[in-house]
Symmetry: C2
C-alpha cells in the first residue's frame, strides 16, 4: 500500500463524484489512465480531496471487479522499441502454430517476505515499515502454462537496438501521493532473452484465477513478485527502466548508512532477483511442543538465482546442524522453492516438553489427574510444585541453599 497523504482529510463524499466507464471491453471499470490524461487529471483531483487509502467504488475501479474476458476480446499491445508493434488477443497467443507453449513450476515471492521481523526491530508509523507485515508465508509456488515472452518479441520482429527494458502494464489502478497511475513495472530485456519471462493463462492445470491476474499475467522467474504484472494490458519496450512509481520509487532497499532520512530514489538499490532465503513453517515461533524426543519441522527454501541444493536445520540456534535427507526435500526446479521436513532429535527440556523424560511424564500426569490443561505452559500450576517434605529432603541432599560457613 502506498503511503497515506499527509494532511489529507479522511474520506467523506464532497459533492458529485465522477464515474469513469471502462475503456476496454470486459474490463469492468478499468481505465487506461496513462492514455486518458483528462480522466487522470479528474481522478487526481478527487483523490486529493480525501485521505488516501479509502477509495470509493465510483472512483478508480481495480482488478477486484475484473470479469472473465473472452479470449477473442481480450488483447494486449506490444509497442515501443520493437520492430513490428502489434495487438495480440489471448486467442492469438494460445494458437500453437504461432507460439510454442511453455510450462514450468515457478515460485513467486513478495520481497517483503519475513518483513514482520524488520518491523519488530524498527517499529514506525510510516509506510516503509508498518505496511506489508508479512511473515514466512508471502510466497507461493504453482505450475504455470503460457508462452515465453521471447517468442512474442520475436513474433513482433525482435527488439530495436535501443530496447533494453520491457515495461508491463496491468489493469490495476495504483495510487501514489494523490496521483493515479496504471500499475507498471519493467524488467531488463536480458531476463526475457534467457526465457525467464512468461505470459501465462493457466495455473496448476486450471485457468488463471481472477486474483492471480486473469486473463493473462506476466511470470518473471526469480524476481520479486511485483515484477510479475497481473491483468496484462500492455508490453512496452523502452530504453531505461520504467519511470512508473512502482519501478522507480518503490521496492528499493537502502543500506543502514543511508537510512530513511537521506533516502532518494536513486541511492537505494532496486530489488529484483530474490536472494537465498528459507523459513521454518512448523513449529511456529514460541510454540510449546510436547514431544517424545523428536520434533517434526517443516519449511521452505528458495533462491531467485538458482535452486536450493541442500537444506540444513539447527535445533539450537545455530550450533549443531542437521542435513535434511534428500528424499525429504521436494523436487528440484530451476525456478521454484523446495519444501522440506525433518524429524529433529531434541533432548532438551525447557519450553520444549520432552515426554520421554521421567520427571516430565510425572508432571504431565499431575496435570491430567488434576483435570487441568497443561497448555498454555505459562499458566501457573494449580497445584503445589512439591511438598514441604520433598523440598526439605532435596535441600538436605544439596546441603542447603547457602554455604554453611
Amino acid at each position: 500500500m502506498a503511503p497515506a497523504e499527509p494532511n489529507a482529510k479522511p474520506f467523506e463524499v464532497q459533492g458529485e463524484l465522477p464515474v469513469f466507464a471502462e475503456e476496454r471491453k470486459g474490463w469492468k471499470g478499468y481505465v487506461e489512465w496513462e492514455r486518458y490524461p483528462e480522466k487522470k487529471k479528474q481522478a487526481a483531483e478527487v483523490l486529493a480531496r480525501y485521505d488516501f487509502p479509502v477509495v470509493s467504488k465510483n472512483i478508480p475501479v481495480q482488478w477486484r471487479t475484473a470479469k472473465e474476458i473472452d479470449p477473442e476480446e481480450y488483447f494486449f499491445e506490444v509497442e515501443g522499441l520493437v520492430n513490428k508493434p502489434m495487438k495480440l488477443t489471448l486467442k492469438d497467443l494460445q494458437d500453437e502454430s504461432r507460439f510454442p507453449r511453455m510450462s514450468t513450476a515457478v515460485t513467486l515471492q513478495c520481497s517483503g517476505t519475513r518483513r514482520i521481523e524488520q518491523i519488530h526491530d524498527y517499529p514506525g508509523d510510516g509506510d516503509e515499515l508498518i505496511n506489508a507485515p508479512w511473515g514466512e508465508g508471502a510466497i507461493g509456488t504453482a505450475r504455470y502454462v503460457g508462452v515465453s515472452l521471447k517468442k512474442v518479441i520475436k513474433y513482433c520482429g525482435g527488439l530495436k537496438e535501443e530496447g533494453k527494458n520491457i515495461e508491463f502494464f496491468g489493469a490495476d489502478s495504483y495510487f501514489k501521493k494523490g496521483q493515479i497511475y496504471n500499475y507498471a513495472v519493467s524488467v531488463p530485456t536480458h531476463k526475457m532473452k534467457v526465457n525467464e519471462v512468461m505470459l501465462a493463462w493457466e495455473m496448476n492445470g486450471e485457468p488463471l484465477p481472477a486474483i492471480h491476474g486473469a486473463p493473462l499475467r506476466v511470470v518473471v522467474m526469480g524476481y520479486i513478485g511485483a515484477r510479475s504484472c497481473k491483468w496484462l494490458t500492455r508490453i512496452n519496450v523502452i530504453r531505461d527502466p520504467s519511470m512508473a512509481p512502482v519501478q522507480m520509487k518503490e521496492y528499493i532497499y537502502y543500506t543502514p548508512q543511508i537510512g530513511k532520512h537521506n533516502a532518494t530514489y536513486s541511492n537505494g538499490f532496486s530489488i529484483q532477483t530474490m536472494p537465498v532465503a528459507s523459513a521454518i513453517m512448523t513449529p511456529v515461533d514460541k510454540d510449546v511442543i510436547i514431544h517424545d524426543g523428536k520434533i517434526k519441522m517443516t519449511g521452505w527454501a528458495y533462491s531467485g538465482s538458482g535452486w536450493p541444493e541442500r537444506v540444513e536445520v539447527s535445533n539450537d540456534g545455530g550450533g549443531v546442524w542437521y542435513e535434511v535427507p534428500y528424499d525429504q526435500l521436494s523436487k528440484k526446479y530451476f525456478h521454484a522453492w523446495r519444501t522440506w521436513e525433518i524429524d529433529i532429535p531434541v533432548d532438551a527440556e525447557g519450553w520444549l516438553v520432552n515426554r520421554s523424560k521421567p520427571q516430565t511424564a510425572k508432571r504431565l500426569k499431575m496435570y491430567e489427574d488434576h483435570g487441568t490443561d497443561f497448555l498454555p505452559l505459562t499458566r501457573p500450576a494449580p497445584f503445589d510444585l512439591e511438598t514441604e517434605e520433598e523440598y526439605l529432603e532435596e535441600m538436605k541432599k544439596r546441603e542447603g541453599r547457602d554455604p554453611v560457613e
Copy 2:
C-alpha cells in the same frame, strides 16, 4: 504479585466479611497472621471465596495504611536461636550508648530488573513472566543510616550454635494460593557477620518514608531487594532458610533444561547476590537521535558482590568499545551502583540522524521549509525524495539499475 488462584471467582462480597483489628499499636490494621492462627484461618476462608488479587479493605490491611509510629511505641522482637531473645524499640536502637550507628550508600535492585526483555522473548499469561515487567529502572540508590544487625545480635547475646539463618518479618500481608502470611524472608547469618545487613530508619538524610518501610527496614547489601524486608516487626534466628513462601517458593531461577514444567521449589536456585549488571538509560531503545557527530549516553552499572571498577560502552552492538572516562563515573561505594555518562562519537547515519553530514543537513532543511516535523522519522516524507531529473542524472552516473549486457 502472586499468581491468581485458578478457578477462583472474581471478587464479589458474599455475606458478612470479618474485620480484623490491628494487633500492635500504630500499625493500622496489621495482623500478625502467624501468631493468630484463628484469624489466619478465617482470612484464608475469605480469600478462598474470591479471585485472588482483589482484596477488600476490610480483610488484610497492608503497609499502605501503616502510620508513623512513636519510636517508643514501635518495637521489633529478636527471637529464635539467639542467647538472649528480646524486644527492642526504635528508641532503644537509636540509643548510641547501646548501638553505634552506621551510614552507607546502598543500591537496592529488584531481581526482575530488565525482566521486560525476558517477557518479550517468552510472552506468557502466567505469573512467572507477565508480572513485574520491569525495565532498567527497577533499581535505586540511597544513603541509609541505622545499626548493623551484627551489633543487635551481639546485644542479644550472640547466636546459638544452630543459628545459621536470620528470618525477617515485615508488617505486610502476603497472599499465596488462597493463604495469607506475613511477609517473611531470610538471609544466611554469614551476611550479618560481614556487616552487610543493616536496620535503617533514615534514608537520604530524612526519616524513612512510609513506602520505604518506616519506621524501620532491613537493608541487605548486594542481595536482591526482596530480602531487604520493610516495616520490620520480627527478627527470627533459625537453622535453615525461611520456609515462608517468598523465600522458599519465589525468587527462584531455573536453567532452561528444567524449564517451567519440571520446576519444583528445590531444583531452582535461590536468587540472592545480584550479578554484575548495567544498563544504558539514555538514549532509550529505538530512539531516533538528531546529533552533531556525538551522542550523550548515560547509564548505571552495579554488582552485588563488588563494585563496577570500569565501564565500557559500545556504539555498534559490541564491536568497538569506549571506556567511560574515570571522572564521568560516579563515586565508588562498596555497595552501590556507579552512574556514568559518555559522549560517544557516532559517524553513522541510518536511524541516527547525523546533522554534520551535508546530505542530512539538506534533508532537514527540506522538512523545515515544508513546515513539517522531521520526527517521527518513520512518517512518509511529505515531499518527493528527488526530482525525476535528479534521478535520471544519478542513474546515468551509476550506469543504470541493471547491467547493459
